[in-house]
Chain length 267, copies 2
Amino acid sequence: MPITGAARLFAILGDPIAPVRSPALWNAEFTRLGLDAAFVPMEVRAADFAAAWAGLAATRNLDGMVLTMPHKQAVLPFLDLLGPHARLAGAVNTVRRLPDGRLEGDMFDGEGFVAGLRAAGQEPAGQRVLQLGCGGAGRAIAFALARAGAAELLLSDTAPGRAEALAEAITAAFPACRAAAGLPDPAGQGLVVNATPLGLRAGDPLPFDPGRLSAGQVVADVIPNPERTPLLDAAAAKGCDMVSGRAMFEGQARLAAAFLGVAGWGG
Amino acid sequence: MPITGAARLFAILGDPIAPVRSPALWNAEFTRLGLDAAFVPMEVRAADFAAAWAGLAATRNLDGMVLTMPHKQAVLPFLDLLGPHARLAGAVNTVRRLPDGRLEGDMFDGEGFVAGLRAAGQEPAGQRVLQLGCGGAGRAIAFALARAGAAELLLSDTAPGRAEALAEAITAAFPACRAAAGLPDPAGQGLVVNATPLGLRAGDPLPFDPGRLSAGQVVADVIPNPERTPLLDAAAAKGCDMVSGRAMFEGQARLAAAFLGVAGWGG
């Protein structure tokens, strides 16, 4: 199926952009579905976001935009409508152009992560969770874990106050989940989640000390590429179960495709 | 060959965009060459050009932009360097990002048109030519016909003064070509060129009265889609030889690909 002049466009904006797996997955689906559509990667630096966004908003055949690091919060001022997950998370990963031209954003990182956990056979309900990283994706994941019934949520972030603010917001929205900020120590946790960008670039430090992991714990990573991160290697060496970023990524993509009106996804 | 996160991008900007044939041709070449690259159509209105351009300039993996109506002159203020054909024509159809980030534009409509004529077995050298339309593409075609050795160039445009200005510029650059503005009457001409957008949209009027055509004349149209325009139908009915916009389009694409550094184009 060639991409013609009548193609509908979708784009993912991020920096770095080369590691993102969405274009390959989406374009393979478009081919399978026989759609004249393209999903293209756009490498846009944080400082250039506003200019890039104005250009995409002016591109009339661009039906949807996906945001990845570092743009998930930067996009908020440019949207006309926010969906329920985006309002809670304060971040957006998917934007659609409505028939009247308005732009509506929502956030599927959290629901995609939980869907990925469950697809990998790991149920978050009742779990004690340590989560590293409380940025755009981290907020969404924490809310989704609380919504899914996690019993405890220990949040850790290197930015001062960030984990505390998220713990308060979780407690307000989901009082049944005991949320608190704390040190990045996995000892005693059932599920450990890396929601930081560490692992995306070769040579990144680990987000926490894996020496404190023990057999039987579940370690889930949000990094989709490489699928096997140094953190997951270290977890496996400790006898932990692993859930890779691919599981989250596939869950996200399915939810984003539904939001963007791509019928028949995953067929 | 899927489009991945590491894909290099190319875009064509225009309005209307659905009829452009470039995306299908370029993406087929990318597939044949095994390149991780995409050439996407972007529907951008004239009033939105500056915003759209700023966004594309900020997209770091976008290596080249192709301009079609109505943007071939609007892009001029946004470029750092102009090639020789663009300087003469006062219009640009292809822009490349240099390694230092500067944007260089050039214009291949004229040379592509002449290459298409020759590929169709029609030699412009020594010809008497009537050309309708003296806009961005029209200027480029007139200069290329003069450079190719056309003996006479009768130029016609509905915008007051436009044909006169182009005739003066042709005379200054190519004194051996007798260029003048005149009425759109094909009688007595060897080659008749439609360089107006008429024929792009169903229901457009013809650019001149085909009742004045006679057998043996050559009628060339710049409209690439539909390939067989109502003007070419009328010319065929009069016994004229025809050169469709596809010939020009293929010549343009080959020249643009070389400018954009796509090696191996066209096998």
